[in-house]
Symmetry: C2
Subunit: 416 residues, 2 copies
């Protein structure tokens, strides 16, 4: 907040249901009503430093040392995620103002304190105060580069819905001696449903599941192919060797651009030691569906429930619990002026054009901005894969910090 | 033991690894080496009387009252299971000896104290002392009548093997945002295997599973059809309406004469409250297979394991735990001299021929006798469905007691 005040931003601390929100507002001379209004988002909270023993230097006393890759790096909790990254934008703004005296847009800086915790605080705040933020674009600096040196803009995030289903058969657990055979077994019913959810090629078979899913643009597919993602090593790293998703998509496409139906947990019947000849009264599965842009969470949920009901023996019941939440998948069009400007700027700084990458998971705040402010986010970040984010010895390379600042300065220039 | 001594049997208390075994030996004058040697088995232990509050009279103070069906009944814990039932044979022996002075066979009465508990005590004892019991037949009075008034001989008992399988995929739990799609999901692999275990008609699809299973003799099928088993009510009683077993067999046949593959429990991944976007590293199912005569437990276990392995993706592993035990299915030939004799006797006493019934579960002692003494058991009993066995107000109808004694006397007569 002091940094923002120091460069002439009007700062403010807003109370939310969680940690306070740091706001810094910059308006060009005359108010700049005709200039675009940019919201820059970062977060000041960090993951706990535990286990502190594993840190080489104290986590909250930043130190510049040479990292294992031979680069000068800032070591500290939050050095990368997200204090170092958010400072690249603030330093770029400071430098630009020092040289030019004025930024080519209206700017609201928003730094939250619940990114690592409960995303619902900011979501609620934005829902209630959307009118305070009539912005044209959101810039976020909380993502990474590709392979260490190639700049990247994240344009795709998968959404997610959580769902639980409990199949009930007999009204009580039964003895398999007396009922084994004629009595329906809810575990078998559930297994059959889960097994039927995918075909042999890994495609989800739930009718309507893919409704609204757009094909991956051929230009993007080509770009991703060129990344030569080491799918084999990616799987080998977790002990696997065979891509299990849709066989007509590459591993990278499966993660970045294709929806999934996943079983996260299952339980039913006897789970203690040894054997018990019981036929269980019920069985439960917990599922999540990763969604891509175009899929409607409510429709997917309904499609799944219909799929279950259609496979239910007449004397079984299914109960659903949808309290696992839902978020939509996001894909930012590749040809917005913001992405074009950022692409030119990043190419100029890093010597090669940025790749448009995806993220397999969700970033809740991106959805909150989309939902409440009706605004797409431009996700540009300079983290490297070896930055130990969330782990001991978190670091941020000085090179990334400097070139990150220059990248934002070039983006500001592009928007002039 | 006093009762056995009182009628002239030589009694003995044998130590086992559990409760002591009461033995009563009768030898006709001269030793009766040419006469058959019968082992009569019963058990003196009972289920706990809890909840005692729900008993009309104290559980260990026998009382004769009119039951809900208007019959005089002996109310007490064990009145039926198995003190009352075993006394029918002892009283018949006492009466026969009083009248004729000599029984037409050598007889060893064996009353154990671990029937309701751990069957392995007697099994171990019989394994170690088989030579002490060179018997020709085992008579057991611990089963029921059919529909209240039709005498029954139980000739079929299903065996059981317990098996556990754990499917392992990735070496750790994974985040479904980063790996959802390409990473194989052990819950899905397990579900597919369990779902494939039966076809649409309820038949087990595991190759070799039915090896050795003999068709149900047409005469027996016809006899069972005549029983008009109320399958609809049997299922409705536990909240079901559709027989889920092999569709070309009746519910009664499914329980009495057909093997099954049952899932008794399943677990894997996240099972706590709410939702978690985890892809689990492993999933486990507990299974039991009910077996009929002719199936070899070891072969069935191997067939299942082969079935699992054949469906395993190359980067998944399956671990098996076979410590759940195994027992073979038993079917006593319908035309042994013992069954023929008992059938004539029971028809004479009850006015109609006995039905040859099955029991869906196992009676471990029957298998122990078969295994260690190489002897089939003749299971004749006079329990009624409303006897509240194992429950408060257990009873045994005086009519069953009297006619049971007379039934055994008639069987003894048939063996003369």
């Amino acid at each position: 907040m002091r940094q923002l005040t120091a460069i002439g931003f009007e700062t403010d601390l807003r109370q939310t249901s969680g940690q306070p929100l740091v706001i810094g507002a910059y308006r060009p001379p005359g108010g700049g009503a005709r200039l675009p209004h940019i919201l820059f988002y970062g977060h000041y909270d960090v993951q706990p430093a535990d286990p502190v023993d594993l840190w080489t230097s104290p986590p909250f006393e930043p130190q510049i040392r040479t990292s294992r890759t031979g680069k000068d790096s800032i070591f500290a909790r939050g050095a990368c995620d997200d204090k170092g990254q958010l400072m690249t934008f603030i330093e770029a703004s400071r430098a630009w103002l020092a040289v030019h005296g004025v930024l080519p847009f209206r700017l609201t800086v928003m730094l939250e304190g619940d990114e690592e915790g409960d995303a619902s605080h900011l979501d609620r705040y934005l829902a209630a105060h959307a009118a305070d933020f009539p912005v044209d674009a959101v810039f976020i600096c909380d993502t990474g580069m590709w392979g260490g040196n190639t700049p990247a803009i994240e344009t795709r995030l998968r959404g997610c819905i959580g769902e639980e289903v409990t199949i009930t058969g007999p009204r009580i657990d039964l003895h398999s001696g007396y009922y084994g055979g004629p009595a329906v077994n809810p575990i078998k019913v559930l297994s059959r449903i889960l097994a039927a959810m995918h075909d042999a090629k890994g495609k989800v078979t739930i009718p309507g599941f893919y409704d609204g899913v757009k094909p991956i643009p051929p230009s993007l597919r080509k770009q991703w192919e060129k990344l030569k993602f080491p799918a084999k090593e990616y799987l080998a790293d977790v002990g696997l060797s065979i891509p299990a998703g849709e066989s007509n998509y590459s591993v990278l496409e499966q993660i970045w651009a294709r929806p999934t139906a996943e079983v996260n947990g299952i339980f039913g019947g006897y789970r203690g030691p040894g054997s018990k000849t019981v036929l269980p009264a019920e069985a439960t599965a917990k599922l999540t569906f990763r969604l891509v842009e175009g899929q409607k969470p409510k429709n997917v949920r309904k499609a799944f429930r219909d799929f279950v009901k259609a496979r239910l023996p007449a004397d079984c019941k299914a109960a659903f619990d949808g309290s696992g939440g839902e978020s939509t998948g996001i894909a930012v069009s590749e040809d917005t002026p913001w992405i074009k400007a950022a692409s030119r700027a990043l190419k100029a700084e890093w010597g090669e054009p940025p790749v448009l990458i995806g993220g397999g998971g969700s970033i809740p705040v991106v959805e909150s901005f989309k939902k409440h402010l009706k605004t797409d986010s431009l996700l540009v970040g300079f983290a490297r894969d070896d930055d130990n984010v969330h782990s001991p010895d978190e670091k941020y390379d000085v090179e990334c910090y400097h070139k990150g600042i220059r990248s934002w300065a070039r983006i500001i220039s592009e928007l002039s």
